[in-house]
């Protein structure tokens, strides 16, 4: 069975500062994908960033980047220059035969 663990139920950051959200996973697959999703109060799940497991280079999308440590099965999300609009629930997820397995979620609060 595939598992995804987010050990930080809540995190907070000052506007313009940097914050890192943690995620660990466990899978028996050799080819898999990892995702970070954002869920604002509107509930709409928004893809933030994705990482192919076979790629060693860490994915980046503007202010969002990941630290992918395959051997440690770790996949953290770094948000730089945090903005008020980044406040949301963030979910880490891993694929298994086309299905997504999600972590428990981390609520991110951004203080002005």
């Amino acid at each position: 069975a595939q598992t995804v663990t987010q050990s930080q139920p809540e995190m907070s950051v000052q506007e313009a500062e940097t914050v890192t959200l943690s995620c660990t996973y466990d899978t028996s697959e050799s080819d898999y994908y990892l995702f970070w999703y954002k869920q604002p109060p509107s509930r709409q799940m928004i893809l933030v960033i994705r990482q192919e497991a076979y790629k060693q280079q860490n994915a980046t999308e503007n202010r969002f980047s990941v630290n992918f440590q395959k051997a440690a099965k770790s996949f953290s999300l770094k948000i730089s220059d945090s903005q008020l609009g980044d406040a949301a629930m963030y979910f880490c997820a891993c694929t298994s035969y086309g299905k997504l397995t999600f972590g428990q979620g981390t609520i991110l609060t951004v203080h002005p």
């Binding site: 139920p9 509930r43 799940m45 893809l47 694929t95 086309g98 999600f102």
Partner: protein, 116 residues
């Protein structure tokens, strides 16, 4: 331009009622999924479907069933609603071969179901 539509944003039902949650996608996706979201537990997969009239159990199928008579529509059925099924339900879809072929998954905006 909402592409995965869930029929109700909020729903209140009584214990023992048969409940239908509807999900429609307009992207011609083969794969459709139903998840349940609870605080501290994240999203858990209830059922999924890779094709019309096809269904597979996810991690927590007990108390639920599904129907996929048409490619664009995937219904979640609570045969006899119970209070422990009070939750947020999210539908998602993805194309064949996802996620290796593209960014894949598109989610609806959820149905918050309360069973009283």
């Amino acid at each position: 331009d909402v592409k995965v539509t869930q029929s109700s944003r909020y729903l209140v039902k009584r214990t023992g009622e048969k409940v239908f949650l509807e999900c429609v996608q307009d992207m011609d996706h083969e794969n459709m999924f139903w998840y349940r979201q609870d605080p501290g537990l994240g999203l858990r997969l209830i059922y999924f479907s890779y094709d019309v009239k096809m269904k597979e159990k996810g991690d927590i199928p007990e108390g639920y069933s599904v129907s996929r008579e048409k490619k664009e529509r995937f219904s979640l059925i609570l045969e006899s609603a119970s209070t422990n099924q009070t939750s947020m339900y999210l539908c998602a879809s993805s194309p064949l071969g996802s996620p290796s072929t593209n960014y894949g998954y598109t989610f609806g905006s959820g149905t918050r179901l309360t069973v009283v």
